[in-house]
């Protein structure tokens, strides 16, 4: 079954027939995790780097921010017996518009926030397709762990 992850949203699964997909990541970031042993994983699509922006919003929807969303993504996957040590982690998105001033560097701020979280928690990123000015659609195939990325002007490729 196709499970769609919207903006500020997260889904996990251990059903081998499931494909978790997020359409059109712009400056947002998609974090994809998958444990090859239990064949379970998930996808988080967060909008902004830091929940300090609005704690109320973060409480209502933790998946809006990287710092509140990432821990929950892992925790939900652990429920399927996934283990952090085995987890394959990949990152997609973080594009931004062409602006030299840095006012619209949402993509960069999003990527930086994630790097800090992973650094603190000893998470190694196995692959990423981040930055540039392209929007991306990413899917995680639960049965195989395949992560496919679609960008305009390019064939779909496995990350």
């Amino acid at each position: 079954m196709e499970i769609v992850v919207g903006i500020s949203d997260m889904k996990v699964s251990n059903n081998p027939d499931d494909v978790i997909i997020s359409y059109s990541l712009g400056s947002c970031i998609g974090v994809i995790i998958w444990d090859p042993e239990v064949k379970a994983g998930g996808l988080l699509h967060y909008l902004l780097p830091d929940s300090n922006l609005d704690k109320e919003k973060a409480k209502k929807n933790p998946f809006m921010f990287s710092d509140s969303g990432v821990p929950l993504l892992f925790r939900e996957a652990y429920k399927f017996g996934a283990n952090k040590k085995r987890m394959i982690v990949k990152v997609v998105g973080g594009a931004q518009v062409l602006d030299n001033s840095g006012f619209f560097n949402i993509g960069k701020r999003n990527a930086l926030a994630l790097r800090k979280i992973f650094w603190k928690n000893n998470v190694i990123v196995a692959g990423s397709d981040v930055g540039g000015t392209v929007n991306r659609t990413v899917s995680l195939h639960i049965g195989t762990g395949a992560i496919l990325v679609k960008r305009p002007g390019r064939e779909v490729f496995a990350l």
Binding site: I7, S8, Y23, S24, L25, G26, S27, C28, L47, L48, L53, D54, K57, M64, A95, Q96, V97, L98, D99, N100, S101, G102, F103, F104, I106, G107, T133, V134, N135, R151, P152, G153
Partner: protein
């Protein structure tokens, strides 16, 4: 016939914008009563039907069915009324161009347009645009030129995309380079043909100019809204985030990065509300 002439001719074929909607946008610049508005709206069956449908939608959860326009205007109030009228009048011009040159998914360009209109409404106070109905309309119509350029972009898609990806060029710059015009310019022509006020024509025409934030407030507002909505990845199609903007222009407005982040966060809830009310 040259291709540019063919493109320019195609926009001359566009049907007129509903007169009643134009009149309402104009009226709302001044103080009007629900009765004044009802007097005008009643002559447009499509708009009347939409207004009644919205009133009777689950969003308002009224205990009885509303069947007269006078009653309806009291229920939905002026703010929502203008958005309902402008939105329903504009939507007819966004026939689906899914899979065309911009590689839109079904309904994506319309979703983007609504998002930019709502973002414009949210940002109005920062940018000091006073005429909300016009700003909302510009947001909804800013990409209307894509309807006409789509098939031409499709012919040259590979060349356009290569230029965008290899030369750090914006999608609009590539349109101009290969087609001789842009969707923004075409949009300006369409609004001019519809006899919209100069400020709205200019805003649509210039919304991709890199210095848009330094220009008139309506132009700055739609350019800023478009950049934020594009950053969120909402309905951008193949153009993606390949749009150029000089962010320094923001300094003249009372807006911080925090404000912009908050408005992006707010947009999601506002979009959900709009979907419920307008059944987008």
């Amino acid at each position: 016939m040259s291709r540019l002439k063919e493109i320019l001719d195609s926009v001359q074929q566009v049907a007129p914008f509903p007169k009643v909607a134009m009149r309402v946008i104009e009226m709302l610049k001044h103080d009007v009563t629900a009765k004044d508005l009802a007097d005008v709206i009643q002559y447009d069956q499509a708009i009347t039907a939409t207004v009644l449908k919205v009133c009777n939608s689950s969003y308002f959860a009224l205990s009885r069915k509303i069947s007269s326009l006078d009653e309806a205007l009291v229920v939905i109030g002026q703010n929502l009324l203008k958005e309902v009228i402008i939105t329903s009048s504009s939507s007819t011009f966004f026939r689906d161009i899914a899979g065309g040159g911009y590689k839109f998914e079904q309904g994506e360009i319309w979703k983007h347009s609504v998002a930019v209109a709502i973002m414009s409404r949210q940002l109005m106070h920062h940018v000091k645009v006073v005429d909300e109905a016009s700003a909302f309309t510009v947001g909804l119509l800013h990409d209307i030129g894509k309807q006409f350029l789509s098939s031409f972009v499709k012919e040259d898609f590979n060349k356009i995309m290569r230029k965008v990806l290899n030369e750090r060029c914006s999608f609009v710059e590539a349109e101009k380079y290969f087609l001789g015009t842009t969707h923004a310019e075409l949009g300006g022509i369409i609004l001019m043909n519809w006899e919209f006020p100069e400020e709205m024509v200019t805003a649509v025409r210039d919304h991709h100019e890199p210095d848009a934030l330094d220009r008139g407030v309506m132009t700055a507002l739609v350019a800023l809204s478009n950049v934020l909505v594009a950053s969120m990845g909402i309905g951008v199609g193949a153009g993606g985030l390949a749009t150029r903007i000089h962010g320094e222009g923001l300094r003249r407005f009372d807006i911080t990065q925090n404000d912009m982040d908050l408005h992006m966060a707010d947009l999601l809830a506002e979009m959900a509300k709009a979907e419920e009310i307008l059944a987008l």
